[in-house]
């Protein structure tokens, strides 16, 4: 920038007093009378000189410290919708989210107890806890049955609360009959209590006291 300004100043200075014909001052001019080009060129030169002096403080304020940030556009890991990211100035910023599978949006009617399993399609992730009972049954057959009942009982009880289906009864029955009966009785669904409750609340714990953290 400084070099460009200097170039303009030098060229302007060289033309100070030059007539409008464009010839330099040093050249022989055959025109008579007052040269009207002089004030204009002089003003231009003065302007450039002024700019040169002015440029120093401009430079001072124009100096932007090297920011260690960059703006990139990422795609949402689930929807693919792009969004703006300000990240550290690395050459290639590492992905913020790990690769994940994409699913369709969840339909919360699935959670309604009155809705049957196949009424709402679901393609999202799921886990199956049946294997814990298979594993427990395997252990039981290995001869630590007395202990298995005690150790697996909490898990099976919760599974009964959870699954409450034929799968539970089949697998849990293989573990320990006494404890399973109690669990099933405890987790039998009560139609009167079937409901689908969701809540979201927000409360302020700090407000406008302008305290600087």
């Amino acid at each position: 920038m400084k070099k460009i300004l200097k170039f303009f100043v030098i060229t302007s200075m060289a033309n100070v007093g030059a007539p409008p014909c464009g010839r330099p001052l040093s050249s022989v001019c055959g025109q008579k009378g007052r040269c009207r080009g002089l004030p204009l060129q002089f003003c231009l030169a003065m302007t450039w000189i002024f700019l040169i002096f002015l440029s120093n403080p401009i430079y001072a304020s124009e100096v932007i410290p090297e920011m260690d940030s960059q703006v990139i556009v990422r795609e949402h890991p689930k929807t693919g919708k792009p969004y703006i990211v300000i990240a550290a100035k690395d050459s290639i910023p590492a992905p913020f989210f790990p690769d994940s599978k994409k699913f369709s949006r969840p339909d919360y009617h699935l959670l309604d107890p009155k809705v049957k399993l196949d009424q709402i399609p679901y393609d999202g992730p799921y886990s199956d806890s049946k294997r814990i009972y298979i594993f427990a049954a395997t252990l039981a057959t290995l001869g630590v049955g007395g202990l298995v009942g005690a150790a697996v009982m909490p898990a099976s009880a919760a599974g009964g609360a959870a699954s409450g289906g034929a799968g539970y009864l089949a697998a849990g029955g293989a573990v320990a009959a006494g404890t399973v009966t109690a669990a099933v009785a405890n987790t039998a669904p009560n139609p009167k209590n079937d409901e689908f409750v969701q809540a979201s609340e927000s409360k302020s714990i700090y407000k406008e006291n302008r305290k600087r953290l």
Partner: protein, 230 residues
């Protein structure tokens, strides 16, 4: 450094049924042979139960209802949360008699809150680096929102399951002055949730979405008040 001190890495959720191994460690030198076998068997079974429990990953997407209900605000806003939030995991099994459960809360919460901000604010910027006042001013960001997970709670009962997620959110202006600091809780209470394929996963998703809904609405309210005052 400012944010690291204010927003420490989220902790792994408390395991209400865990800690047995640590408790057993000094007892493992039990002198009697039978007692040692008993404890070893308990140790083995507890470990295996942890491995073979429920591993619950939410879909990590907002529902259509959320997208339709939230009105986008014409506001530039930046969101920040530490990357550690994505690895927030809760092993709260929700009761002594419940199966071991592992809830991968953070991996779903991160994408969901970003999607929510995309829908709720016209000019949304996500900060992947620690924010500073200079940074906000450089990019002309008037407001910054920082979110951290406070607590994840799981209650498994005979009839169903209640999941709730509590978060703390702070709104800063471009000078990193606190405008608002609030706590949000999203709860989902569902009966017979484990009976359906994807039930626990969708239940977790709903609890997260309810939390995010309250955050977004609270922020929009605060910004409306700010704009009406100014």
């Amino acid at each position: 450094m400012f944010f690291k001190s204010r927003f420490p890495s989220p902790l792994v959720g408390e395991d209400k049924g865990g800690g047995l191994i640590q408790k057993l460690t000094p007892i493992l030198t039990f002198p009697h042979k039978g007692g040692r076998e008993l404890i070893f068997s308990l140790f083995l079974l507890t470990g295996c139960a942890s491995i073979f429990g429920w591993d619950i990953h939410a879909p990590g997407l907002l529902s259509e209802g959320f997208i339709q209900s939230v009105q986008p605000a014409h506001q530039r806003i930046a969101l920040y949360f530490p990357k550690d939030l994505l690895s927030y995991v809760s092993k709260d099994r929700g009761g002594r008699t419940a199966d071991p459960q592992t809830y991968h809360v953070g991996e779903s919460y991160g994408p969901m809150i970003i999607e929510a901000f995309q829908s709720a604010f016209a000019e949304f910027i996500f900060l992947e680096m620690e924010p500073s006042a200079d940074l906000l001013k450089q990019y002309a960001v008037p407001y910054l929102v920082a979110v951290k997970i406070k607590n994840f709670n799981n209650e498994v009962s005979g009839s169903g399951q209640i999941l709730s997620l509590a978060t703390e959110t702070t709104i800063f202006d471009s000078d990193l002055t606190v405008i608002e600091h609030f706590e949000s809780t999203g709860t989902s209470d569902v009966k017979r949730v484990f009976a359906k394929k994807g039930g626990p996963q969708v239940n977790l998703n709903l609890a997260l979405e309810n939390n995010i809904m309250s955050i977004v609405e609270h922020i929009q309210d605060v910004l409306k008040q700010k704009s009406s005052i100014s």
